[in-house]
Symmetry: C2
Subunit: 350 residues, 2 copies
């Protein structure tokens, strides 16, 4: 096993000897080095990439105070995933990414519902029929949280056992931008009204109402979180089941040394929490895109992260991760396949 | 044939009925509309995408005053393309893009050199062994320019006959950022020293020298170009054979209603000229990326163009176009494959 410093230098030498001006592949060169470090090799490769979409409902959403779409859409979209009709299905087919959908706690019984054929199957880790409304107390119990974290880990553990070496996490949960905004605010210290954006498309009026509800929620849980400012306390008070599972999934993916494609606003909020538990998780992360959800750019800034794409997408489901995947593949491909100055007989700069 | 206004509205309706919040796929939605308009259909698709790399030498490069790499690198890189070892080969293989390499006027005899197997073949349209040094007169004659424009058109015409429906143009030519900087300055009115960047990696000192040479060249040709400020005059005086061919190629691709992927600094300089001849060319263009070459961002601003990627790449060869291709495919795929609210039984926003 090469030490990181030696490996980094050798990767850089390989890159600098490719038939191109120094640094001319920009961000792709950085991704190639990062992937080499993650896999501890000069020849990183991705053979089994996978997207996992975690779906769950949020107690607050039933009140209609933070979301323009009805809560039922969470379950409807899960059925859409299973039928292969959502955006993430399209992009996973395009790039041959595996896709799993996890019922982390949707307010619907999927018994007897299954994908099949080219559609993903549903993995059931239902913690409950949605979280409790955090305006009236904690979103989940410590026991529920523990189960959710472990479920997220187990999904990734199972994929690792099947050879998965690159993973992206997506989510579906009406109301979950509110939960993510609260998490962001508690972790980064940025006022919650600056963290909250339009989510799935709130109007000006709806956005103002959402911000007021979040200010109230923030104040309500602040004493408990200030007393124990850790990931667990934040998740218990204002988390979602899907966000808690993603947090566990990030931790497990880093332990399995996978290349992790970080999606948008909700996924990055889970990463903020995973980092509180194990800071080193970020070394395994490639930031796929800047979401059109307004708080995401500031999250990325907080993480000092430079995302690959900025297409004003704000859909979740892991769609940003899927879109960035071919760019990551390009980085590995040029490292492996491009000729060097010596082998191609090309002159270097004078 | 639908009128543009009706087609645009129907495409937008289709997109708004997909199972996602309004506008949530951001730039991809715009690309889907544009591709539908280009192909005059509600179901745009790309079946035969292709990259053409035009290579040529520049008289100025032989003086070593504008380029850190020796002129011989142009020919060496063409051989590298034919052997399949360059970055553009890697990315074309990854995305199954066809690849052609055109000798537009390289200072080398490729007779008897051929690709073969999975490598691209060389198309010979050699106008000469490089342009003349524009510090000593015009870069090319009107006759050479006419041949070059027609050669660019004929390459695209041949591809169109084989079904090509999406095309990107790349280039290789030591010294060609200088030619592109001059073109940019004449077309946009931005001072040439602000148009000129480091090219393949000039040092501070080399860059200062390059800028001084370009200031001198700019002044030398200004009277003739001011008298006839058209694409032909600019190309004759300070163009390159590869840039002239790309200009013809852009015009032909637009006439063939191809989806055109615009690469970086040099390719966009050719587009600036093609627009002077037929402004409507830009309607067929998708801007693939912002090059790390410093003048490119301002070129894009001048064109009011919003590129898909910004990865600090500055390699040319069509690599930016190739990297953007899967994003364009995603745009067409979601339009064709995603379920609508009705068919999927998903509720709309309240």
């Amino acid at each position: 096993m090469l030490t990181e410093i030696v490996l980094r230098e050798r990767l850089q030498q390989m890159i600098d000897n490719k038939t191109k001006p120094l640094g001319a592949l920009g961000r792709l060169e950085e991704i190639a080095v990062q992937a080499g470090l993650i896999q501890n090799t000069l020849t990183p490769e991705i053979k089994h990439p996978h997207i996992v979409v975690f779906a769950a409902d949020h107690g607050i959403a039933a009140t209609g105070s933070v979301n323009p779409y009805p809560q039922a859409v969470t379950a409807q979209m899960v059925l859409n995933f299973l039928a292969g009709g959502a955006a993430i299905n399209v992009f996973c087919r395009q790039h041959r990414l595996g896709l799993s959908v996890v019922d982390a706690g949707v307010n619907f019984d999927f018994d007897g519902t299954a994908g099949g054929g080219s559609s993903p199957n549903l993995i059931s880790h239902k913690i409950g029929y949605g979280t409790r409304n955090y305006l009236e107390g904690s979103a989940m119990t410590a026991g529920e949280l523990g189960k959710a974290l472990e479920a997220g880990r187990s999904v990734v553990r199972d994929l690792a056992a099947k050879g998965c070496d690159c993973i992206g996490f997506g989510e579906m949960g009406i109301g979950n931008t509110s939960s993510a905004s609260l998490i962001m605010s508690y972790v980064t210290g940025i006022p919650v009204e600056e963290c909250a954006g339009r989510g799935t498309g709130a109007s000006d009026e709806q956005l103002e109402k959402k911000r007021e509800v979040l200010r109230q929620t923030f104040r309500l849980h602040l004493p408990a979180i200030a007393a124990n400012p850790d990931a667990m306390t934040i998740l218990e008070h204002v988390g979602g089941f899907e966000i808690a599972m993603m947090t566990g999934a990030f931790l497990q993916a880093a332990e399995a040394r996978m290349v992790i494609l970080v999606d948008g606003f909700i996924a990055t909020s889970a990463l903020l929490l995973a980092r509180l538990i194990r800071e080193n998780v970020q070394a395994f992360c490639i930031f796929s895109h800047t979401s059109g959800e307004s708080g995401h750019a500031r999250m990325l800034e907080y993480l000092d992260a430079e995302p690959l794409l900025d297409l004003r997408m704000r859909l979740g489901e892991g769609t940003g991760a899927a879109m960035a995947y071919p760019l990551v593949k390009s980085a590995l491909a040029f490292l492996r396949e491009m000729a060097s100055f010596d082998t191609a007989g090309v002159s270097k700069a004078e």
